[in-house]
């Protein structure tokens, strides 16, 4: 996998205590989410209780990195120093279930692109902050990495 370097510093994540393990997994380039130890529901953002069954039992498991494109938008105005327009953000449905928002590295896509397979990649800014990002996977999705 090619290392991707972003030219400017990302806005820092908002500090929630519950997110610390998530960001540690991202920094290690093995993004993980909580799986409920009682009912198996995968949740994001993280939290102390399962929103389905309210159990506190949970395990952090790495995601497969496979997702399907649900929607996307492209900023044509510069709101943040890190992101020169046009800047595209995608929402994917992770194989594990949750929706997940991330930069779409290919940029804007034509109408009719919903459903295209995505892979989680990682980008790093000059401060060393790592973010998960989407790139389009070859079709048909062959699986694996």
């Amino acid at each position: 996998m090619n290392e991707r370097i972003w030219p400017a510093a990302f806005p820092k994540p908002i500090p929630r205590d519950e997110d610390v393990p998530f960001w540690a997994s991202v920094a290690a380039r093995r993004m993980a989410l909580q799986t409920c130890g009682n009912c198996g529901h995968v949740r994001y953002p993280s939290g102390s209780h399962c929103p389905q069954c309210l159990s506190e039992e949970a395990e952090w498991r790495p995601v497969s990195g496979r997702a399907e494109l649900v929607s996307w938008c492209t900023f044509h105005r510069k709101y943040l120093p890190a992101f020169e327009p046009p800047h595209t953000v995608g929402v994917g449905r992770l194989e594990e279930g949750p929706l997940f928002v991330a930069i779409l590295l290919e940029g804007h896509l034509p109408d009719g692109s919903a459903g295209r397979p995505l892979r989680i990649d990682y980008v790093q800014d000059p401060d060393g902050t790592v973010l998960p990002a989407y790139r389009l996977a070859a079709e048909p999705d062959a699986g694996g990495a």
């Binding site: 820092k12 709101y79 943040l80 953000v89 929402v91 929706l99 930069i103 990002a133």
Partner: protein
């Protein structure tokens, strides 16, 4: 069968007031500061009292909007009410109706002031307004997804993908609301636009363009809501709250599940059903609709969720039946947030009341008996039906 204990016309709007939105917009553009949020709220309160024909001593309840502190607002108005609360526009109307129903107050002032333009309030970025209440507003800022507009751009792109809708279809909203604003002396933006003007404007967050976005302007709004008995004996032109419904969609809110998977529809359907049951009326009885429109695409989504057409058919409704004045289903008849004033839903209540009163010439909807207000901010769906009958 009503799903809650409130009866139609338990309460009525007996007074409305607001600030000089268009004038204050010009002044703020010239660098002036016409007032603080508190000033605008007070000016609107004075105007609403005059409209109701009452002195402030008759007010026994006070509900303030999100941008002014409750105690300070009450202190500034010299009020010691027996009922008080803080809420957004539609929450305030519902709270007032419930308080009156329960006997906590008889004449309630609802006041809102917002100096968002002159105070340069941020609606995007890691410190975006509302982030403390809605995690989705700030949670994705590391990836650059920060603005409210972007959340609606994602929704509209998803809607395009599912229903084959075009951006020209969406243009109808901005064009229709600007037409309404052109007939409204209080509107901030009054120059009519065409579909071609809409399409020629730049994208802000694609697929949404400049004219899909609400204004940001200073101002205030106030309503006086009283019991049916008070309204019948004292009010000149009471407009009754005939239906109220509320339902939420919170599961998966931060990752935008209620928006992108459900378009808030289950909440909209439940809220509107409760309000229709309370009012003993249906969408076919509504003469005009006011829809919370921070972005234009609220309109097609609401038309579907609040009962005006089938899923995916809103563009057809907008094209064939029409949502502009003089057509089948007039929507946001004062211009809405896109063209009249961005009072976060408060001014929509004023327009609903004025249309039912019949005082909106030259933009008056003929024989207007019912006006429906629909909002679904962050998946909290509210449906309110205003009507002329007690």
């Amino acid at each position: 069968m009503n799903s809650h204990g409130l009866e139609a016309a338990t309460a009525a709007v007996v007074g409305v007031g607001h600030t000089d939105w268009a004038g204050d917009y010009r002044r703020t553009r010239e660098g002036e500061k016409p007032g603080t949020s508190e000033t605008y709220a007070a000016r609107a309160f004075v105007a609403a009292l005059a409209d109701a024909g009452i002195d402030k001593s008759e007010v026994d309840g006070l509900i303030v909007g999100p941008r002014t502190a409750y105690e300070r607002t009450a202190e500034a108005f010299g009020l010691n009410p027996r009922w008080g609360a803080q809420a957004d526009a539609v929450g305030a109307v519902v709270n007032a109706a419930m308080a009156i129903h329960a006997g906590f107050a008889n004449v309630i002032a609802l006041v809102y002031g917002n100096d968002q333009r002159s105070a340069k309030v941020q609606y995007g970025g890691p410190q975006a307004m509302g982030g403390e209440s809605y995690l989705s507003y700030v949670y994705h800022s590391p990836w650059g997804l920060t603005s409210q507009g972007a959340l609606y751009a994602l929704m509209f792109q998803r809607y395009k993908e599912m229903h084959g809708v075009t951006e020209r279809d969406l243009a109808e909203v901005a064009v229709a609301q600007r037409l309404a604003a052109s007939l409204n002396d209080n509107a901030v933006m009054r120059k009519r636009i065409s579909v071609d003007d809409y399409m020629a404007a730049n994208y802000v967050c694609q697929p949404l363009r400049l004219f899909d976005y609400c204004l940001i302007n200073d101002g205030g709004v106030a309503l006086i809501i009283a019991s049916r008995e008070w309204a019948q004996s004292r009010a000149r032109r009471p407009v009754y709250i005939r239906g109220i419904g509320r339902a939420d969609l919170n599961e998966g809110a931060t990752t935008l599940e209620p928006r992108l998977t459900h378009f808030y529809r289950p909440a909209q359907v439940a809220a509107s059903a409760a309000s229709y049951a309370m009012a003993g009326a249906g969408p076919e009885d509504m003469d005009a609709v006011q829809i919370y429109d921070s972005f234009s695409c609220h309109i097609p989504f609401a038309l579907e969720g609040f009962g005006y057409c089938a899923i995916g058919d809103a563009p057809k409704l907008m094209r064939d039946r029409g949502i502009s004045l003089g057509r089948g289903l007039p929507v946001n008849t004062a211009g809405g947030h896109l063209s009249e004033t961005y009072m976060q839903g408060w001014a929509h209540q004023v327009e609903a009341v004025r249309q039912v009163r019949g005082e909106c010439s030259p933009r008056q909807v003929p024989d207007c008996r019912h006006v429906h207000y629909c909002s679904d901010v962050a998946g909290k769906a509210f449906s309110i039906i205003y009507g002329s009958d007690a």
